[in-house]
Amino acid sequence: MTVRVHYFARLREELGRPNEEAELPAGGTTVGGLWQQLHQDAPPERLMAAVNQEQASLDTPVSDGDEVAYFPPVTGG
């Protein structure tokens, strides 16, 4: 069970990579759980996320084949 993880903006620069593959635990995980698994730390404050290009929260489930994205608060316009 793998997912593709994308990082944007300041997160992308701080982590030094725009994306990576992640192996999901049996039974799947959540957006917050996947962050913890990848970074051995709690998600930072004000972290935003998307699953399959739809806005998500830390509780949103993540399943095999999903596209998960983590990013800082948005500042368009």
Binding site: A9, F71, P72, T75, G76, G77
Partner: protein, 145 residues
């Protein structure tokens, strides 16, 4: 309605003129247009350049969702949203929101709603370059005044 991501400098007024051609002339009683451009200052510091990052795919979908929700809420005849990405210079257009309706309130309120939701919900991020060459990510939108 149309949503577009612009990778180069664009002329917002040309986009407005072109989009207006598609709306029946006898019905378009009101148009409301917002054009946002890059300033050469932010938070009391001089800014020489701006880099705008987006999430290809999701950004377009979010803009389309925001516009569709405005169309469900107000009786719009048309809507055109354009947003710049990439390396931007002071004076360049960053965002265009144009709405058409039979009456002014729907056009004006929808334009304002789309702009505010775009700023808070659509995945765009700004990185500023200051005069001494340092770069910083903008962490929050400015209040609207």
């Amino acid at each position: 309605m149309a949503v577009e991501i612009c990778h180069e400098d664009f002329d917002p007024w040309a986009l407005v003129a072109r989009a207006e051609q598609a709306i029946p002339a006898h019905a378009r009683g009101a148009a409301s247009v917002f054009v946002g451009r890059m300033r050469d200052f932010n938070e009391d510091e001089d800014v020489t350049a701006l880099f705008l990052e987006h999430y290809p795919g999701m950004t377009e979908r979010e803009l389309e969702r925001i516009v569709a929700e405005a169309e469900a809420r107000w009786p719009l005849l048309g809507c055109h949203v354009a947003h710049r990405v990439g390396d931007v210079r002071p004076g360049d257009a960053l965002v265009l929101v144009a709405t058409w309706s039979a009456h002014r309130v729907a056009a004006r309120d929808a334009c304002s709603d789309i702009l505010e939701r775009l700023k808070h919900e659509a995945p765009f991020w700004k990185r500023e370059t200051l005069t001494d060459g340092t770069q910083r990510w903008v962490e929050k939108n400015t209040p609207g005044f």
